[in-house]
Amino acid sequence: MSWAKFISTGWDLRWATTGIATVMWLAVACTSQDDVTLLEQRAHELNEVIMCPVCPGESINESQHTLAVQMRAIVNTKLAEGAAESDIKAFFVERYGQSVLLEPSRRGFTLLVWVIPPFGAVVAAIGLYYVLRTMRRPRSPVASPTAALQLTEDERARYFEQIEAAIGETNSEEQRSRADG
């Protein structure tokens, strides 16, 4: 469909306008509250990766435990003093161990946790490719006796007529039931 035709069709224009309006509304909804300062943003991001040691599995951002609240305060103070994210993380690791970080480190044994998924994905992709190739290969004739059956021209014409008739039958059945309600 050429662009000229696209624009000249009333319907398409209406749909396009509605679509763009929806997208604009989305953008407005998302950006209307641009109120956080950079410091708050950084603190928030840090809080989400540091775990509250006494609440299993919860970050200090999520937990309302007293310890979590204290740790948030420490993060805020240190950021205000100009510490870098890695320093703050190291600070907590020193006190509570490696497990206080919710994101496993990329060194040593834990590197495995990061490496295996993409590796697995690649293996799966290759596997998928080969499976599809296998499914594509035509089956050996022995497997299904009917595969050897061929249709002559007359047979083809005759059968196709019957099939059309069969479908026509069911179509008219549908139409009849449509008419009935």
């Binding site: 059956l149 249709l151 047979e155 083809r156 059968y159 196709f160 099939i163 069969a166 069911t170």
Partner: protein, 120 residues
């Protein structure tokens, strides 16, 4: 008292469970439909469903005409092969029946020394 309740409670499922064993209710039907017919019928239905779906998608505009033609060819061929197989089967059946009838006539002739009946 407790024993009585336990006994009654156990009685009901026991009766229910024993019923088929005792009355030999089991129909010989412990096999799911398994005939060549079903296989052919399901292939037929798959082909017809495919044809209908193709029509729908073409009417909607998802398929271009040439794709629709190609798909129709595929599905119609599938359905046609089913029909052909059915005919062959019936042809075979009839051939077998004819052979059996001939044999029987021959046996009757040999047994009774009579002229072959113009037979049923």
């Amino acid at each position: 008292m407790l024993v009585l309740i336990a006994f009654l409670l156990a009685l009901i499922p026991a009766v229910v469970v024993a019923y088929p064993l005792v009355r030999r209710v089991g129909r010989s039907l412990l096999s799911d439909e398994e005939t060549q017919d079903t296989e052919l019928a399901s292939r037929w239905e798959t082909a017809i469903a495919g044809l209908k779906n193709t029509e729908l998608e073409w009417a909607i505009g998802n398929l271009a005409t040439e794709d629709r033609e190609w798909l129709r060819e595929q599905y119609m061929t599938d359905a046609a092969l089913v029909l052909k197989e059915m005919e062959l089967e019936e042809g075979e059946e009839r051939a077998v029946i004819a052979t059996v009838e001939r044999e029987m006539k021959r046996i009757r002739v040999r047994a009774g020394g009579e002229a072959p009946d113009s037979g049923e």
